[in-house]
């Protein structure tokens, strides 16, 4: 069942900003668990989810950690296929050098091909 060299099986789409809700954290947790079980995982950041990748995030005023520390660990979990929606980047006026991790921009056509090629696609 488990073949680490196969095509990625799980695609997790992250569409929510850090700190504002638990969606981003709970979506990342699914990706980390799948990776820990040797599943190949693709992450796609769409819309405000892209802001999860901004440099210089901090804990909140009550000590809420946010998700940046988790993102910094992705490489340890062999999650290195990080995609960002190019349209979302443009709408936020962001460029990839403002992000904390190397990412690949994808357009709508590529997004729909990715959605079709993964065995499981989960939206968060």
């Amino acid at each position: 069942m488990q073949d680490a060299t196969s095509q990625a099986e799980l695609m997790v789409i992250l569409r929510h900003a850090p700190h504002g809700s638990s969606w981003l954290k709970e979506g990342l947790d699914v990706a980390l668990v799948a990776a820990a079980f040797d599943r190949r995982v693709t992450l796609l950041f769409m819309g405000e989810g892209i802001t999860a990748l901004l440099e210089g995030q901090q804990a909140g005023p009550l000590g809420q950690k946010g998700t940046a520390p988790t993102l910094a660990m992705l490489e340890m979990y062999d999650i290195d296929n990080l995609l960002v929606e190019q349209r979302g980047m443009d709408e936020l006026g962001l460029t990839s050098d403002q992000l904390m991790l190397p990412v690949t921009g994808v357009d709508d056509a590529e997004i729909s091909r990715l959605v079709a090629s993964h065995a499981l696609v989960l939206n968060f």
Binding site: M46, G47, S112, V115, A116
Partner: protein, 95 residues
């Protein structure tokens, strides 16, 4: 061919996200508050999926939208919904 479900009205940016994720043969099923998109006034939002747009009958009915819907939107009940999940390879939910 995939099935996509959308439970948000067209005023939500989730519609654009769902459309971005859809392939050229995929179908879009409006459920819950998403069925507000079946009103004729919202037709232009769904140009990209013309002929592939469905809405859930139960959710249209409970909201009084069944008689007001755009006739180009195909209506399916929960059995039809299940049947679409059988025929389509997978289902992706947008919410």
């Amino acid at each position: 061919m995939l099935l996509h479900t959308l439970n948000r009205p067209p005023t939500s940016q989730v519609l654009a996200q769902a459309l971005a994720g859809m392939g050229p043969d995929d179908k879009l099923l409006l459920i819950e508050d998403g069925v507000i998109g079946a009103l004729p006034a919202h037709r232009e939002h769904f140009n990209r999926v013309a002929g592939r747009l469905y809405a859930l009958q139960e959710d249209l009915e409970s909201r009084g939208l069944l008689p007001l819907r755009d006739q180009a939107v195909r209506v399916v009940d929960v059995e039809g919904f299940i049947s679409m999940t059988e025929t389509c390879e997978r289902t992706v939910s947008w919410y």
